[in-house]
Amino acid sequence: MATLATIFCPEGGHFALALACALAFMQGILPLIGLRRAESPLITLARPLALSQCLALLFAWACLIIASLGDDFSLKLIAETSAINKPWAYKIAGLWGNHEGSLLLWVTLLSLWCAGLALLPAPTTARPEALPPRLRARILALLGLVGAGFSLFCLTASNPFLRLWPVPADGMGMNPLLQDPGLAVHPPLLYSGYVGFAVPFAFAISALLEGKADALWARYMRPWVISAWALLTLGITLGSWWSYSVLGWGGYWFWDPVENAALIPWLTGTALLHSVLVVEKRSLLQGWCLLLAIATFAFSLSGTFLVRSGILNSVHAFANDPARGLFILGLLGLYGGGSLLLFAIRAPALPSPQTGFSPLSREGALLLNNILLCTLCAVVLTGTLYPPFMQLLFGRTLSVGKPFFDATTIPLTLPLLAIMGVSVALPWRQARTDKLLPRLAPALLVTAGNILPAFWLFPTPLAAFSALLALWVISAALCDLILRLRSLPVGDRKLHHLPRSLWAASLAHIGVGVTILGLCGMAGSQERLIEARPGTHTTLTGRDWELTALTAHHGPNYEAVEAHLTIRHHNAHGPILATLTPEIRLFPQQGQRTLHVAILHRPLEDLYAALGSVKEEHDPQGQSHYTAILRLHENPLASWIWLGGIIMALGSGLHLLPARRRLLRMKRQVQA
């Protein structure tokens, strides 16, 4: 163990980080020189450099993890965020819950994406669609340049390996709110999505440098857009689920600047996902697609860093250090501003489309989708940036919240859903209305048939209307799958014989529909805040909630009080439906209390209870009575929100599986 700790010592990690930074500079510069001078030895350096940079960063992580598990409080980062009695899993997960660690994670994930690119097999006759070596070297070099800037920042202004003297006996401990399994996984997932959009960004810069963005280029880029998008979707879904189940406010989205910072690149990323298709199939919209690729990455960068700079929200204030804030803005200016400048110079020279658009075609629908998504993005961006800019320009403080976002985003989302349903039935180039209607008829019938039930079940006309549109999206996607299945030859009609891209698109659309249904259901959520003593009954939407007891217990580093609730059907004598035990934990070390919400997930609703506080009162006889403040919720279709997110992410991930044709070919090779 001693030798392990000697090899993976913090200085070793520090050195590995410096090495990774140097390697990133080499990865960024050498292949570009090689490509310019047509010297293939320099070009082939891109792959080994990317791999060794990744190894160096993983080594740095190993050092950091070993130091954290060994409670090495001589490291400033560990002394500030860890403590001896912290559970070991959070000693690891806590490393990326702070600025220095999350930046190292960012750089490491970028190097992992580079390693992924480097490890892909080169094109052969069996796999002609693989990335050609010269393009790959150029992409790796551009990603190396991005990584170089950020690892330099990590090394100079935000170093996780800084030592502390004198060494404290115990660390300051971690924010108990962050000690949650969901939050341990959330940053890596979200960050891999954010960072993943660096790859399409590098493709876009490479296209601008070469002066062509053709169908083949789009074909190479598409899997990278999809994988980054799927990861970002999963990250956002998990974050929203965390705020629902851990914060205990009963909500799932608060239009907080941090959340918007993730939503903005997701919206442009979704637009990119669709416009890439148009470039690939019809060689149209190239400039627009390039701009989206640049914007998505620029928004991801701003999302990760500006939010943390204190300009929008100072939860993670590090801007008190002027060097850091300016360094970050400099990097954003260099990568975001530099690439937009390159776009301004080179994009006008791209070949302009020869053919026009027919509004009633797949590409027409996708263009409309892009316009709506980007308007949506502009609205969210405006709502997020309006308060700080108003204060900067006019010295006025104001807040932009849910009413603004609801009033602006819903009218844009509804037409988006409407065209989602139509677009799957539209062919490329030009649709014929006489063929279109029969394709859409089953979905239209399903939707029309549910008009009355929807208005009966959902609380508001808006929720009912949105739910109908969601149903329209789902049924149109299913209907398209069935029609495509029937178009296969009779002997070949199997679900897994349909193209994987069709599956991916259909499942992603179904996921959107499921999420929207969940949102509509949540519009009818019922909540009640009650003050209750053991034995108190409360009625909520025709069910009886009884507080049966309040009990106390001790945890490893906290004290807890649990409320025991029994929920019965109909009334106080009805059959028992469920028992819930929400709890409050008090962490004496931080003097902080956390709520532990109790949720019963049922297919059609969530029963949700949070214990707010417990009071002790003495009556004249000197006996003490305990009163609990409880928040009870009944949230219809709540879990559908996150279920939809998972369907979107995993469904679109199907696209990355090898095509059936190639699988058949591989099988034949094995047999031969």
Binding site: I294, A347, T397, L398, G401, L529
Partner: protein, 204 residues
């Protein structure tokens, strides 16, 4: 090379980003100098006049509902006002209910001669009318004026950082009401006796 519409369009994103960038640099500079704080709210220090805020509607139009709240209402007050900023969705506000109920009841009983009669006013922050009505029911309808701040704009003008908060306002004909005390968190009897009661004794 001639400048075409394509050139202008392609330059737009870069120009927009440059504008944002300049703004961010200015904000960062302000943050470091300490004169820009994105989370700042206009903190009305005690001793200042009542701030200007948009007129707030009452809970409902029924005659039994107390009237709404405007800046002008503070202009002609004759007695001290205790303004509660609350919401039914906030736990400390629910915990505050028994005290408010007790205070409202004791104020209804004629006061001893040397303390000024106190009026309780309310500002309901970002709340749903039916849930607010439920809270009022539990608190025994304590307020003689109640403004519904659905958007939270008035709360910003008052410098509220989180519900519940309490302001003690003294009549002042020149400025139209002066804030003499400001408390955050639930108001308790201890706090009331320590801070509010002494202030009331100074009123002629």
């Amino acid at each position: 090379m001639t400048l075409t519409r394509r050139h202008l369009l392609a330059a737009l994103p870069a120009l927009g980003a440059a504008g944002l960038g300049v703004g961010f640099v200015r904000m960062l500079h302000g943050l470091n100098q300490g004169h820009f704080d994105p989370r700042a709210i206009n903190t009305p220090l005690t001793g200042r006049p009542v701030p200007d805020f948009p007129a707030l509607p009452p809970l409902s139009d029924t005659p039994s509902s107390p009237p709404g709240l405007t800046r002008g209402d503070f202009q002609n007050i004759k007695q001290p006002i205790l303004l509660f900023i609350w919401a039914s969705w906030c736990l400390p506000c629910v915990e505050e209910i028994p005290f408010i109920r007790h205070l409202a009841t004791s104020l209804a009983i004629p006061q001893s001669s040397h303390t000024a009669p106190l009026a309780l006013w309310g500002l309901c922050y970002k709340d749903h009318p039916t849930q607010a009505a439920h809270w009022l029911e539990q608190a025994g309808h304590p307020f003689t004026r109640l403004g519904m701040d659905r958007e939270g704009q008035a709360a910003i003008d008052w410098g509220v950082t989180g519900v519940p908060e309490t302001f003690l306002i003294m009549p002042d004909p020149q400025t139209g009401g002066r804030i003499v005390w400001h408390g955050t968190g639930s108001l308790t009897d201890t706090l009331y006796q320590a801070h509010i009661h002494p202030q009331l004794e100074t009123v002629p």
